[in-house]
Amino acid sequence: MSYTTEQVIAAAPDAQVAAAGKKLADAKHWLNLGRDAEALWGECQGSAVYQVRVALADLTSKCSCPSRKFPCKHGLGLLLLAAQSPARVAEGTQPEWVASWLAKRGETAVRKATPAEKKVDAAAQAKRAATRHERVLAGLDALDRWMNDLVRNGLAELETKGPALWEREGARLVDAQAPALASRLRAIANLPGSPNWGERVLGELGRIALLTHAYRRIEQLDAPIAADVRTAIGWTLTEEEVRAHGDTVADEWLILGSAIEEDDRVRLQRTWLVGLRSNRTALVLQFAAGAASNFAEVLLPGTSIDADLTFWPSAQPQRALITARRSNRSTTELRAHATFASMLDAMATIFSAQPWLRHAGVAIENVVPMIDARGEWSVRDRDDAVLPLAGRDHWRLLALSGGAPIGIAAEWDGVALAPLGGSTA
């Protein structure tokens, strides 16, 4: 099997399902087990007999049980069973209920790729866009006045003011239909009080000023950077539009790691991938509403996928959509920077091409995590260069390293590295 038990467990929607799945990873619960190059299948004997099938290309499962969790314990159990005792799951011919599911998936994928021609009222759409453009411009005018007031009165007072200030201004931008800019502004609320916060808040405000400046003269910008400016304001592209306008790269994509952000209602997962042939870095964003739902694509760190990725148009293409996924395999290959100097060179190129990028995924080998007497974390490379780590809890990384060099995957935001995971040699 091309995946490990740990990776399967990582894909479980919650601990309960993981535990239940482990219990089912025993051949005694199963009938008619089988597999071929495409899929795994079996019938699980629970309170009823459930038909469970797994597509090996993307490890998606489908089960006839009524569970709303995805993958359900039966799907998980089958994956675990196949990983732990492959001999129990013999090669066979797909039963009809497996073949028909795979066929249906194929059709859906094709249908997604070639959407039916929708009747679009181009005139009405253009009118809506024009109205929104006007509202955004008005919102940016108000924002600029507010930021001018801030620097006139001084940023020092921000340290004692709570997040309400930023929330209010963010809400105004949402009303002005600039949601991405709104969340960029709200994120600043976390900075005051942190080390060197004056410098960082000023930098963030400056980049927002640069954005409002760019949006007002968007007609004069080159198409790729204009796309970035629109994205940073909050204009979005549908998946169809990305498929139509983005460039597609077929490659073997190594999965570096994932970061998950949660708020009241939605979980956001950022997964970083590196193309082993193209050497391009890609970011796959996935959203899940509520704690029970799971992310649609299963992307396990330490594996690679053979896939087509279509990139959002940008001066520094980063965000991508998985448009075709063929197979998944475990890999020990790494595309890591040997030193911080090499990493920072690459980052300089990226950030100068697209000044509003928030982070970039990187892997660096031979680094040692450290904590100082004040509890500040940092990481040093083999040239003894030191970069700060974001956050206050990297004990697992330190436990893994024990002062010896390890490889890490991380997000770089221009100031600090936020680790996604570590691996010993």
Binding site: T5, E6, A19, K22, K23, K28, H29, Q45, G46, S47, A48, D144, M147, N148, V151, R152, N153, G154, L155, A156, P163, G198, E199, L202, G203, E204, L205, G206, R207, A209, L210, H213, D263, D264, F340, L344, M347, A348, F351, S352, P355, I371, G375, S378, R380, D384, A385, V386, L387, G391, R392, D393, W395, R396, A399, L400, G402, G403, G414, V415
Partner: protein, 510 residues
């Protein structure tokens, strides 16, 4: 501090010139409006600094952990240990003892989890097993100082002899004050998970001051942080917390509100519960005065009356009214229903099932049972509704069962509609002798029958049975299993919690 940043912090005031960053980027921005020019220069300077960043060098050699003198765990054992982390302090203590006897050290990856153990006995048992890496880590984190000292007990005897009794390491000096300082520091500086742990611990030692600490930071935290921290008030929850919880009930975030509701519903004397009872009481008054108890119950649960008490739903859409009803019912003490309607729980259930509101009423009661730990109601609902309850509802009910009730239910007639595994896991190990014998009998009968869904479910409990059965009955367990189609898995033997966890077992896994 850099002059440019200082200017931003103080404010540009009435100075006429826009500050210069002192780098070539100033030339990129032509002089325009003073504040605007300053911000655009700040943007260019920020990118300039990011692109040109040269990290400082740190010449001092890194602190390296000494090599381990103990054996490492196999990947399989590491996985088992990771699973065991969800277990209680008892399990963690047993792990520490068994690892010490087997001369193994804990896997490095799992050290932070084990070092966060708060139970004193478990800490003492783990101390020898943290290994060189664990001691090295503990010296860098004051919360883990209990593991930093090498235990004074010689381990050689124990490693060689396969002894049953493992020595306790020396207790850290004066644990109480030590722990309090640690917790305060963790609360101030820790990540969210550590802050929650610290809040729980502080609630245990001084509930009022712990709540005051939460109140002090309340308005500064984000909604999801507020909800997570508030939930920690479940430790040492008392009527003193009511005022603060009422305040949280008015929070803007839905999550915070629902945590506050959940906690208030656990305070039977709270104004919140009184309000809920009042709304429910209105239903009964709507019933005809002279009606028999049965008619009262039926009309009390009738659709019309319920519409009167359930607030207009916040979110539109089907089911919103039902959800509101379930929440209301969940907040009312179960004893209120029996006394108000003068009916037994069974009669109430029958009446509820005859109305259109059966599902929300049962859902509400299930939640109330879990909150109020009412074993009698739980057993009644489980028995009567085994076929129709959702799995998570069954689990809520099982959690409210007393050990006696669990045994009673399982003895009567084990049904595959029940979460048998969870029910058994809830019983403290080792089981009483008589229950163990009855349960074995049940397994034996299952093994002798042609397999059906229930048999499989029962045989799946052999792992748990092997772990929790009194030692005196083990011979009979082997007999029971020998008859059946299934054999006990090695993992059952390996994960045994009890005293006969010998080095041989762990050794075979390594």
């Amino acid at each position: 501090m850099n002059e440019f940043v200082r200017a931003a912090l103080i404010g540009l005031g009435r100075d006429s010139a826009s500050p210069q960053s002192g780098t070539p980027v100033d030339a990129l921005v032509a002089d325009g409006e003073r504040e605007r020019t300053f911000l655009l220069r700040a943007a260019a300077r920020d990118l300039y600094l990011r692109a040109g960043l040269v990290p400082p060098k740190f010449e001092e050699p890194p602190a390296v952990a000494p090599a381990e003198s103990l054996r490492s765990c196999s990947p399989r054992l590491t996985q088992l240990l990771a699973d065991a982390l969800d277990g209680d302090a008892e399990v963690v203590r047993a792990i520490g003892e068994a690892m010490t006897v087997a001369n193994l050290h804990l896997p490095h990856r799992l050290l932070p989890d084990f070092l966060n153990t708060r139970d004193q006995a478990a800490r003492a048992a783990l101390a020898p097993a943290v290994g060189a890496r664990g001691q090295w880590l503990a010296r860098q984190n004051k919360v883990w100082s209990w593991a930093a000292v090498i235990p004074s007990v010689s381990r050689g005897i124990w490693a060689a002899g396969g002894a049953m009794h493992v020595p306790r390491a020396t207790q850290p000096p004066d644990p109480s004050t030590h722990a309090r300082d640690d917790m305060a520091a963790l609360w101030e500086e820790g990540n969210l998970e550590q802050r929650v742990a610290a809040l729980h611990a502080m609630r245990e030692s001084d509930a009022t001051s712990a709540r005051a600490k939460l109140e002090a930071v309340w308005s500064k935290e984000k909604a999801e942080v507020r909800a997570t921290l508030l939930a920690a008030l479940s430790t040492s929850l008392s009527p003193d917390d009511e005022t603060f919880l009422e305040r949280a009930l008015g929070d803007r975030s839905v999550n915070v509100k629902s945590v506050a509701e959940n906690l208030l519903a656990r305070l039977p004397q709270s104004a919140f519960v009184a309000r809920m009872i009042e709304r429910v009481a209105a239903v009964v008054q709507k019933a005809p005065a002279a009606a028999s108890m049965w008619e009262k119950v039926k009309s009390g649960f009738g659709a019309k009356a319920l519409k009167l008490i359930v607030e207009p739903p916040a979110a539109e859409g089907s089911g919103a009214r039902a959800r509101a009803l379930a929440q209301l019912v969940a907040a009312v003490p179960l004893s209120h229903w029996t006394s108000q309607f003068d009916a037994t729980p069974e009669q109430l259930l029958d009446a509820a099932r005859a109305t259109d509101w059966s599902d929300p009423l049962i859902e509400g009661w299930t939640t109330a049972v879990e909150r109020q730990r009412d074993s009698a109601w739980a057993a009644m609902l489980l028995e009567r509704l085994a076929k129709s309850l959702a799995p998570n509802q069954k689990l809520s009910l099982v959690r409210a069962l007393s050990p006696e009730a669990v045994m009673q239910l399982l003895r009567g007639a084990a049904s595959h509609q029940w979460p048998i595994v969870e029910m058994l896991e809830q019983l403290p190990a080792p089981w009483p002798l008589d229950f163990g014998a009855d349960w074995l009998h049940c397994l034996q009968r299952a093994a002798a029958r042609p397999p059906d869904a229930l048999t499989l479910e029962l045989l799946a409990t052999i792992d748990i049975t092997a772990r929790a059965l009194p030692l005196a009955l083990h011979r009979r367990l082997l007999d029971a299993v020998a008859v059946g189609a299934s054999r006990p898995t090695c993992s059952a033997a390996r994960s045994r919690r009890h005293a006969d966890l010998t080095p041989k077992y762990i050794g075979s896994a390594a």
